[in-house]
Subunit: 263 residues, 2 copies
């Protein structure tokens, strides 16, 4: 099943959509947060009539399991260059995810250029470590996306944490499915957590909130990704992400706030 069909939404009435959390997009039985946010983004771009989620924030209320969901979208502004909406993704029993997003058409993006950064150094994809899915860990979700992890960041899988809370590597969809700006939202939450490489007795950090800025449309091929955490304090951590295309341009930034459970 392609990403495109796994995130399909159907509009039943203005602002009211239905979709399906599909099998195989989960981690330990719970749907990946970036996958859920992409479903919401699909509903929001359709409801606002703008193709690209320029900035989208999701707050995660409950884990999602495979099955039918609804997305209710409130459009707060439409027309002009930017539209804005909030959306709630829910099962018949409960709300899973609440989002706020501004949408636009990035095909006409234009302006002065000034960049104070360079793409993160990562060995070529064939020199990185692939992650293949299992029914446990690595999770089934890794069969839907294709990751190659920087060798310096990949030892956690063998119990060898790097000691640095970061995760770098390459992302693409399986079968080299074209990556649209909705898949880019998923990419911001597709890598193993940075905490897996921190020398702390913390195994799991559920996302409270994730914000993704889509700065340009992806081009083809592998996307260069880097995630890092600088502040693990007071029971929370942030993870900052950057995604660059093959031509060396930044195409997305992300930050999530996650809960660090008490030991």
């Amino acid at each position: 099943m392609t990403f495109h069909s796994a995130t399909a939404v159907e509009q039943l009435a203005p602002g009211h959509f239905r979709a399906t959390i599909n099998e195989g997009w989960d981690i330990a039985g719970n749907a990946n947060g970036g996958y859920l946010l992409a479903i919401v983004a699909r509903a929001v771009t359709e409801a606002t009539g703008k193709p690209d989620p320029l900035t989208i924030t999701g707050h995660y209320l409950a884990p999602g399991q495979p099955g039918p969901v609804t997305i209710d979208v409130d459009v707060h502004r439409s027309g002009g260059r930017h539209s804005m909406a909030t959306a709630v993704l829910a099962t018949p029993e409960r709300k899973l995810l609440v989002a706020a997003a501004t949408t636009t058409d990035l095909s006409t993006a234009d302006g002065p250029e000034r960049v104070d950064s360079v793409p993160p150094p990562i060995p070529e994809p064939d020199d990185c470590i692939p992650i293949n899915p299992t029914s446990g860990f690595p999770p089934p979700f890794m069969g839907r996306v294709e990751l190659r992890i920087h060798p310096d960041d990949a030892g956690f899988a063998q119990g060898k944490k790097s000691g640095e809370p970061r995760m770098r590597g390459w992302f693409r969809l399986r079968d080299d499915e074209p990556i649209d700006t909705h898949a880019l939202v998923t990419a911001t939450d597709a890598f193993p957590p940075t905490i897996f490489n921190a020398d702390l007795p913390v195994a799991w950090t559920p996302t409270i909130e994730l914000t993704a800025h889509v700065r340009a449309r992806p081009t083809t091929g592998w996307l260069r990704c880097a995630f890092a955490t600088r502040f693990i304090t007071g029971g929370y951590l942030e993870a900052d992400g950057e995604i660059w295309n093959a031509e060396g341009h930044l195409i997305a930034q992300s930050r999530q706030l996650a809960l660090v459970p008490r030991a």
Copy 2:
């Protein structure tokens, strides 16, 4: 008028609040975005019964002028450690700001500590450049907050841009009013824009979206703040902010996405 009274909200019915955009919190006639977001945060923390806006995102739809506003809050989750709500701040004529926030009680925050950063180097407040309000520029808003700008970043006011799109300095409220976590939200948008120091013919970059993470409650005294922009591309820029307290602890992070108008 204190920050506390300038951001006061009154609940008329469950989830329905009224407030006032007060005189003097404006920049060129339009209310500061961080001030508006703090008003929304006040309504959200009151509606959710949790004192601290842990993470709040605002999308700016229209500029705000002094006068009465309403804030309608939808609480999507309450109870437990975190509550979550969306909110719309509006005048009788139009929506100005739409927000999504997760609230909590940071007084009980606890967890393992690992910090890969240091407070940004800034000369002592008395060795920095104060910004005092005028009816034009500097704007009236600078009479409500008190800023001291790093000398290396303050030349823009005399037409001498540093060439680096960043802005560092100190923040407090006037008359040393205690800073709560709502004022911290305002602090993330209180400094002159980073673009003022970039060698680009761009004067004004309206905020599309601002996300603030409040990581701890402020303590007394000056707050050490640093804002920087790394990517001015495709008609947009991000500005990343950090706020540290006098004891050398990070207490807030922010990122905003702003529009870079076509020349």
